[in-house]
Amino acid sequence: MTTASSADHPTRRDFLFVATGAAAAVGGAAALWPFISQMNPDAATIAAGAPIEVDLSPVAEGQDIKVFWRGKPIYISHRTKKQIDEARAVNVASLPDPQADDARVKSGHEQWLVVIGICTHLGCIPIAHEGNYDGFFCPCHGSQYDSSGRIRQGPAPANLPVPPYQFVSDTKIQIG
C-alpha cells in the first residue's frame, strides 16, 4: 500500500515513514533495556557480595573449611607438607591446565590453598581429600583435582579458580 505510489512524491513522504519507523525502533529498543536490566543482581545482592574476612587460626594442618562468599563455596585448605611437595613436584607442562602451584597460593603462606569449590565441568561441589591426587574429587562425573586444586583427570577443562583474596594478618584473610 505505502510503496505503490511512492513514485509520485517520494522524498518527503518516504522521509516521514522512515523517521517514524526509526523513532519506533529506537524507542522500542530503549524501552527493552529496563526489562533486561532488571534480571541482573539487585543493589542488595551486590552489597551483600562485599568482601568477607575469615579467621584461619582454628584450622589445623590437614584440615579444611568451607565458607560462602557471593553464594559460592570457598574451600580453604591448610595443606600438609606432603600435599605442598606433591603439588610442586609435578611437571607443570604436562597438566591439562598448566599452572604452577606458587601461582595459586600467596608466597609466604604456601600452606593455605584458597579455591572456589565449584567443579569447572558443570558446577558440582568436589569433595575434599578424595581422589588419587590428595586433592578433590567431583562425584558428579569423576573429575579429579590435585592438592593445588588443578585438574588432573576427568571431564573438567580447567583448574578450580582462586578467588580474589589477601592476608590481612597471618591468621586472617579477606576474600573479595
Partner: protein, 690 residues
Amino acid sequence: MSGPSDYQPSNPALQWIERRLPIFGLIHSSFVAYPTPRNLNYWWTFGAILSFMLGIQILTGVILAMHYTPHADLAFKSVELIVRDVNYGWLLRNMHAVGASMFFVAVYVHMFRGIYYGSFKEPREVLWILGVIIYLLMMATGFMGYVLPWGQMSFWGATVITNLFSAIPYAGESIVTLLWGGYSVGNPTLNRFFSLHYLLPFLIAGVVVLHVWALHVAGQNNPDGVEPKTEKDTVPFTPHATIKDMFGVSCFMLLYAWFIFYMPNYLGDADNYIPANPGVTPPHIVPEWYYLPFYAILRSIPNKLAGVIAMFSAILILCFLPWLDSAKTRSSKYRPLAKQFFWIFVAVCILLGYLGAQPPEGIYVIAGRILTFCYFAYFLIVLPLLARIETPRPVPNSIADAVLAKTGSKSTPMVSTAIVLALAGALFAGSIDSAKAAEGSDKPPGNKWSFAGPVGTFDRGALQRGLKVYKEVCASCHGLSYIAFRNLAEAGGPGYSVAQATAFASDYKIKDGPNDAGDMFERPGRPADYFPSPFPNEQAARAANGGAAPPDLSLITKARSYGRGFPMFIIDFFSQYQEQGPDYVAAVLQGFEDKVPEGVTIPEGSYYNKYFPGHAIKMPKPLSDGQVTYDDGSPTTVAQYAKDVTTFLMWTAEPHMEARKRLGFQVFIFLIIFAGLMYFTKKKVWAESH
C-alpha cells in the same frame, strides 16, 4: 479470522509453512486486508489501546513476579525491595500499578463508546457479552493484584470484598472460609490471590482472542451504525487502522507516562504504604477508583444481601443490554433522546464513583440511593421505553454518504465528550483523597519543597541535616528499616562518598549471628546493613511508648496524606502536586501546642497537636530550638529541623525520585516527538485513500 483466505506468501519457505498451517493467511485476512469502516473515529482506537495495556500488564507482571515474595511476612517488604534495589524496579512497579488504572480508563471509554454507538446490538451481542466477561475478569484481576503489596488497604480491601460472599444465605460463611483458606484473611489468602492474579490475565487474553474473533465475524460497528455495503465504505485494516491505532496508543502513552513518572501515587492510597495490620482498620476503606461506582451502589442499600445483589447486578445487567435496548437504530448520533440519556447515564456513573469515595453518612447516603435508582432505571426503564417511543433521525444510506455529509458539517461532539471524560477521570481519581478529608484537624500548610514539581531534586544539605536530626532525635523511638547505610552513598541521595557511608555505618552496632558456637554477637555496621530499629519488636515498642508503637519512618511521607478536596485534587493532577505527605509530616512536627484550645480534651499520656487527626498524639513534642547543632550555619530552629528531616524522610520513602523525574523528562520528549510523527504519518496514509 474471516474464513479461508487466498493469500499466498511469496517466500517459498513461508509458502511451505502456509500449506501446512495457514497462519500467514489468517494474519493477513485479519489484520491486513480486513476491511474496516472508513468513518471510524478515535474512540475506536481504544480497542488497540486495551490490547497494548494488556500486553504491558502481562509483561511487567511477569517481571514483578520474578522479584515478589507472596508471603504475609515478606510481601510488603519485597515490594519495597523491588522499588529500591531491583534495576529499574521502581519503573516496572509504577508501570504495573498505574497500568492497572490506565487499563480501566481505557476499558471504560471502550464500554461507553459501545453503548453510545450501539455496538452491542444485533449481530454483535456475543461480542458484547464477551467484552463484559473480560471486564469482570479484569475486575477480579485488579482486585487480587491490589491485595499483593499487603499494605493496609490491600488487607482490608481483601477482607471487605471477600466478606461480600458472606451475604449468601446459609453457605456464605463456609464460602468465605474457603476463599480465605483460614479463619481470616492471611497468608493462604495472599498465596492463592497471587496464583490467581498470575492466571487470570492469561484467561483475559484468551477471551480477548474470542472477542476479536467475534468482532471479525460481525465486522466493526461504526459511528453511523450502518453496515458497510460496498468497497467504498471500507479501507484495508493495514495501514489505515493500524497507523491510526498506533497514533492513538502513542497519545495514550503520554497520559500513562504522566502518571508513571510524575504522579505514581496519585491514583493509589497512602494507607497502602502502611504494612497490613490485622488489628487496625483504616478509618476509610476505599477501593481502587475503578470500583467506586459499584461500591457506592453496595453501600446505598441498607440490607447486606440486597446490597451485594445490587452491586453484582449493576455489572451483570450489562450482559442484557442488547435486549434491553431493542431500538433498531444503532448509533445515538441519530437518536436525539437516547443521546441525552446516555450523557445523563455517564454523569450518574461518575457521581456514583464520587460518592463511593465519600464517607457513608448524611447527604451522601441519600444521593447514593437516588443515583443507584437512576443507574438501574437507565437500563430497566429508559432504554426499553426509548426503543418504543423515540423517533430516530434518518440514518445515512451508506458509510460513504455519511463521510461525505460529515466533511460538510463542522460539528465535533467529540471535544465536549473528551472534556466530560477527562473531568470524570480526574473526579474519580481524586475522590479517593477527598474521602479521607482529615477529620478534626487543621489542614497542613503547604511548603516549598526542593523536590516538588517535574524537575525537583533533593536539597543535599537538607538531606544531610535531616539525617542528623533523624539520628540524634527520631532514631531513639523510630526505625528506618528500609534504608541501608550504602543508600547514603547512592546517586540521588544525601551525596556522601562510599567511604563516608562506611564510616557512618561502622558507628552502629549490628546484631549478627549465629556464629559457629551458635551465639548471636554484635559487630560494627557495614554498608550493606540496614539502620537498626530501636525496639526488638512491635510489642516492645508499644510497651515503651504508652501503648502506641512509633511507626517506622522509611515510608512515612508516602504513608501519610490529607484530603485535598474538590476541586484541588483535579488541579493537583495538572500541577503535579503530590506533597501531601511531606506537608503533613512537617506540620505535625511543628503542630504541638502547650495550651489545649477550649473544648478539646486530651487524654492522659497524649499531647495536643494541631494537625494530627483527632488532635491527641502519643508522641511528645520531639523538637525544640537549638536541640541539634548544624555545622553549615543553617538556623537551628524547629521549623528548619522539621523541614530538613521531612526532606530526608521523603528521600527514604523514594530514594530513586530524581531518577524517576529525569527519565520521565526523556520519555516525554521522545513520546511527544513520536506522537507527532505518528500523527503526520497517519495523515499521509489516510490522505492517499481519499
